[in-house]
């Protein structure tokens, strides 16, 4: 299937923008089409790109201040009146601080609230460990009624947001601040729950989400030079997980690697391990944070240090291939 990625994917000319912008654009588009769309933020409207919506639809925008618990609760109340409410804040605080409100007011009520978390993962960089949420996917995917999306770039974040809006149930959308390559296009397919296979391969399959998808594609190029044929799969949906694609690559390659800007415990890697253990046991090497907090530094420095960049993925793939033998 043609994935319609940008031509010359790795050239310096590829546009670099933060995927949070895709969310911001999508909610404006939704706001224009549907007067039932409301947006709430917690003193981070510009950073989470909800200010574009606020400028156009002030009567459907709510500024609750630095109060993430009330943010989630008020949105649940608004949704209980038949609205579609998007809440938007930094991941460290929403869902970092308001897990209980997301669990009970949003998920147990099963109301139409979309939780958008920006500034997620190590990629937020210099702000340091307190602001680098690395546990959010684990928290969100454990919740009944919740769908979990981790878009890889601006285009996909836009599509993910539009697709989330079609559901009447809670959805978690995870984005980041870092400017990264916009390598998918308007024509790249996106369907919740269906992984995108950007590159087929027979030796090993790299399953990545978020900013690690592009790094994995770069890694696959490097691996090709070493005569290793690696598949790259974009796992934009963590829940519901695309078990079928995982199983088919487990059968084909026998060894998989997962890569995410998140703790390896509870995130994408865990989700894949669960599918493998229950369906088709195969070797899996998980790339991500291993029971540690992050630290200050630039995104690229941190990705290098913690093995989350292309070079780190190459190294992990080579280690993983040893498991196969």
């Amino acid at each position: 299937m043609d994935m319609h990625l940008v031509p010359d994917l790795f050239s310096a000319g590829v546009v670099k923008k933060a995927n949070r912008d895709g969310f911001g654009k999508a909610i404006v588009e939704l706001g224009e089409k549907d007067s039932n769309v409301w947006v709430l933020t917690a003193d981070v409207s510009e950073s989470t790109r909800t200010h574009w919506f606020a400028e156009k639809f002030s009567d459907r925008f709510v500024q609750v201040g630095v109060a993430e618990q009330n943010l989630a609760g008020a949105a649940a109340g608004i949704a209980a009146c038949g609205k579609k409410a998007f809440i938007s804040a930094f991941g460290a605080f929403s869902p970092g601080r308001n897990f209980d409100q997301i669990r009970v007011s949003i998920c147990y009520n099963n109301v139409d609230v979309k939780v958008h978390a920006s500034h997620c993962g190590l990629s937020v960089g210099p702000d340091g460990a307190s602001h680098q949420i690395l546990e959010d996917i684990a928290m969100m995917r454990a919740l009944p009624n919740m769908t979990v999306l981790v878009p890889c770039d601006l285009e996909q974040a836009k599509k993910a947001t539009l697709a989330a809006a079609k559901l009447k149930t809670p959805v978690y959308i995870r984005t980041s601040r870092e400017n990264v390559a916009v390598f998918t296009t308007a024509d790249t397919p996106f369907e919740i729950g269906k992984a995108n296979v950007y590159r087929d391969g027979k030796d090993i399959a790299i399953f990545a989400c978020g900013l690690q998808v592009y790094e994995a594609l770069k890694a696959a190029e490097e691996l090709k030079k070493k005569d290793i044929d690696a598949a790259v799969i974009d796992m934009h949906t963590i829940k519901p997980i695309d078990s079928q694609t995982i199983i088919s690559f487990a059968k084909k390659c026998g060894v998989l690697v997962s890569a995410e800007d998140h703790q390896v415990d509870g995130g994408l890697g865990s989700a894949i391990a669960e599918v493998l253990a229950e369906n088709h046991p195969a070797h899996l090497k998980r790339i991500g944070m291993k029971n540690s907090f992050g630290e200050s530094g630039s995104c690229s420095e941190l990705y290098k240090k913690y093995g989350l960049d292309a070079a780190g993925i190459v190294k992990s793939v080579e280690e993983a291939l040893k498991m196969k033998k």
Binding site: A72, G73, I78, A79, A80, Q101, V104, N110
Partner: protein
């Protein structure tokens, strides 16, 4: 109900019976035959543990048959130990973890206010619940948006699980605190329906501000051995205690009916 369930929260449920009675049978616009009527007033219970009195009020109003009350907290019952929206007609919100209902009430009132609707939102909080930071986030937010269609009723019974609220985490001066948050703060006898009706009238006639009624209630009201005792916050009566309680309440009812 609580004897049959063998667990639950009797003190707050009894103490707030007069508030529920006033709301469902005197104040609120609602239609038990059309529970999702868009223009209904909303009752958002924030302290979900006193749901026995909510369930009893809904049954009395005709939302569901009274026989269902005896299924409280039992497997398969829509009368969950703490309320679940979607399980039972008339339940506006799932609640239990304290502090969450008031935020939802704020969201609902904001929709009504911005869309020019006439329906109102009534949210019930326990005084112990006011220990939660979320409650104060919601108080600030309602005041910011001038939600004069929102009335919060605080069950000021001065008990919580570990003791009196004065001991556990003092709230006084509560009226002054709430006034300084920009609310129209009203103190009323929460076990006197006439006083409560008056308080709700005062709330309705105050423009541009949300109102809060500090309802001074006696926990366990109407049952002599429960009144004022924090030990009855979350303990259900046994069969004998239940019979004694119902006997006292029955006598009180007969006296009222004779007037």
């Amino acid at each position: 109900m609580l004897v049959e369930a063998k667990s639950g929260h009797p003190a707050g449920s009894l103490g707030m019976a007069d508030v529920f009675c006033t709301l469902y049978f005197g104040v609120m616009n609602h239609d038990p035959k059309n529970p999702n009527w868009p223009d209904r007033d909303r009752l958002v219970l924030s302290n979900g543990h006193i749901c026995p009195v909510l369930y009893a009020s809904l049954a009395e109003a005709g939302y569901f048959p009274k026989e269902k009350l005896m299924t409280l907290r039992k497997l398969g019952s829509p009368l969950q130990g703490h309320p679940h929206r979607g399980s039972l007609n008339g339940i506006e919100n799932s609640s239990g973890p304290l502090g969450q209902g008031i935020s939802q009430a704020v969201g609902m009132a904001l929709v009504a206010k911005r869309e020019g609707k006439t329906w109102r939102v009534y949210s019930l909080l326990g005084d112990g619940e006011m220990n939660e930071g979320q409650v104060w986030e919601a108080f600030l937010c309602a005041s910011k948006y001038n939600l004069d269609n929102l009335v919060v009723i605080i069950d000021r019974n001065n008990i919580q699980i570990d003791g009196t609220s004065d001991d556990v985490l003092p709230l006084e001066p509560l009226t002054e605190k709430l006034s300084s948050f920009g609310w129209n703060a009203i103190v009323a006898d929460g076990n006197n329906t006439n006083a409560l009706m008056h308080a709700f009238d005062l709330a309705r006639s105050c423009p541009d501000k949300p109102s809060v009624i500090i309802a001074k209630t006696v926990p366990g009201k109407g049952v002599s051995f429960m009144e004022g005792k924090f030990g009855w916050h979350g303990k259900s009566p046994n069969k004998e205690e239940g019979e004694a309680a119902l006997k006292e309440l029955g006598e009180a009812r007969r006296k009222l009916e004779a007037v």
